[in-house]
């Protein structure tokens, strides 16, 4: 089995070298490493040339402006059976490729979703780590059982190249291409699995402005994809179940959160205290499971973020679904320095 890597990069000088090294330093090496330089204006091109001989680096004819266009450009150079897609701000765990290879030993499997962990930096990244922990230890495990992985993470996913070329097109009409790919695979009843041992470490926004902008892209992209693919939902029962659970919960409880505060501040306070208690119990469980003890205190700052999350969720629902103001401007959060 030939395993290729595809990494698009644009102005990634702060993290690129560490990312390349993590891709090279694998227990089961990649057979082909392809990096697509999307006409970066910083030292990314220079860093890529430093590793020529170990990796293949290609430059797009002009800046494409988003990740999926750079991926589409890079796909033509892939010669492997499996392609791993990740980001240039992401580090792969040493056994990542080994785990991916194991998952594809089942010939029915066409795509594997890896596990994403947030690199620790401050309270915001801690809250994101808390969300990832719940998302990947509870949501994704359950989705794996019912055979409906909601989204293949952009930072850690792998596909059979033949299937990818046959069923997935780069439409560039949503902000979350990874979700678009996942919908297309489900639509064709193809088998996607989740491998929690295929771990990647990613950078998450470290300030509120970047956090909100990233949320706008994620939630906005989520609504864009739902509008694009909703007709296929009733035909797949697990898809109908998952999508209605996630999206109805998101909208109805976001509205409820703000309404209860207006109607009965005292009761809202008590509900939030109860919510904090449950979130703390889950936080302790996640801290033990992930052996990351800070997760036990994450629910406290997370209580502030639920208001931000709910607000952005509703904002994007109104923009994308009600007013149909489609935003396709790609947002790239500011990177932090990653030591190679």
């Amino acid at each position: 089995m030939k395993i290729s890597l595809l990494v698009p990069c644009y102005n990634e000088e702060k993290s690129l070298e560490a990312s390349i090294k993590s891709c090279l330093n694998q227990t089961r090496p990649f057979d082909e490493l392809i990096f697509i330089n999307d006409c970066s204006k910083d030292r990314s091109g220079e860093i890529l040339s430093k590793y020529s001989g170990l990796i293949y680096a290609y430059k797009t004819p002009q800046n494409t402006g988003n990740k999926s266009s750079a991926q589409e450009y890079g796909l033509q150079f892939i010669t492997g059976d499996i392609v791993v897609m990740t980001d240039a701000d992401t580090l792969l765990k040493i056994n990542f490729v080994e785990e991916i290879e194991k998952s594809f030993s089942d010939t029915q499997v066409v795509a594997v979703a890896g596990r994403v962990q947030s690199i620790a930096y401050n309270w915001l990244t801690l809250c994101r780590a808390y969300e990832y922990a719940i998302g990947q230890n509870i949501h994704k495990v359950a989705q794996n059982y019912i055979n409906y992985i909601f989204v293949m993470p952009g930072a850690a996913s792998a596909f059979r190249v033949e299937t990818f070329r046959k069923y997935i097109s780069f439409d560039h009409d949503t902000l979350t291409e990874d979700l678009d790919f996942t919908y297309k695979l489900h639509y064709n009843n193809l088998k996607i699995i989740y491998n929690p041992s295929a771990i990647s470490y990613t950078q998450d926004p470290a300030d509120l402005k970047n956090y909100i902008n990233q949320l706008r892209r994620w939630f906005g992209g989520g609504w864009q994809n739902l509008v694009k693919h909703y007709t296929s939902a009733p035909l797949n029962l697990t898809m109908a179940f998952e999508l209605s659970l996630l999206y109805f919960e998101g909208v109805i409880f976001s509205v409820l959160l703000f309404l209860i505060i207006i109607i009965n501040t005292w009761m809202a306070l008590w509900l939030l205290v109860g919510y904090l208690a449950i979130a703390t119990i889950i936080g302790i469980a996640m801290a033990i499971k992930e052996k990351r003890w800070a997760l036990a205190i994450a629910p406290f700052p997370y209580m502030i973020l639920i208001f931000v999350n709910a607000y952005v969720y509703l904002e994007q629902f109104i923009k994308e679904v009600i007013f149909k103001k489609r935003n396709l401007i790609w947002f790239k959060p500011e990177r932090l320095d990653l030591k190679p």
Binding site: R128, E131, Y132, I134, G135, I138, H139, V141, A142, Q143, N144, Y145, I146, N147, F150, V151, H186, N189, L215, W218, F219, G222, A233, P234, L235, N236, L237, T238, M239, A240, F241, L243, S244, L245, L246, F248, E249, G250, I252, F253, S254, V255, L256, L259, I260, I262, I263, N264, T265, W266, M267, A268, I278, A279, I282, I306, N309, A310, V312, Y313
Partner: protein
């Protein structure tokens, strides 16, 4: 991140994990329900409708409970008006 909350979806997914592990159920397959497109569409729409009804009714119930509870802003305003002459109280508001 798939939902803005750790809420109902987390609880339901947790229950699913427990059921699957407790009863050693195998992973479900799309292929089992691949035939009979119209039945599938009907069942799918029923699931969507049921989920919406369940979540919506829960939300309305919570909203109603918060509105009738003694600390509710509506309740406080009503009490205020009742304890005064309505017109005077409204002028004061």
């Amino acid at each position: 991140m798939i939902t803005p909350f750790i809420g109902l979806s987390t609880l339901i997914h947790l229950i699913l994990i427990i059921i699957y592990r407790l009863f050693h159920l195998k992973k479900s397959s799309h292929l089992l329900i691949y035939k009979y497109r119209s039945i599938r569409a009907f069942l799918g729409l029923s699931i969507i409708f049921s989920m919406f009804s369940f979540i919506f009714v829960s939300a309305v119930f919570m909203l109603h409970a918060s509105a009738v509870e003694k600390h509710s802003e509506i309740h406080i305003i009503e009490n205020f008006i009742d304890s005064h002459d309505g017109q005077v109280a409204l002028n004061q508001l």
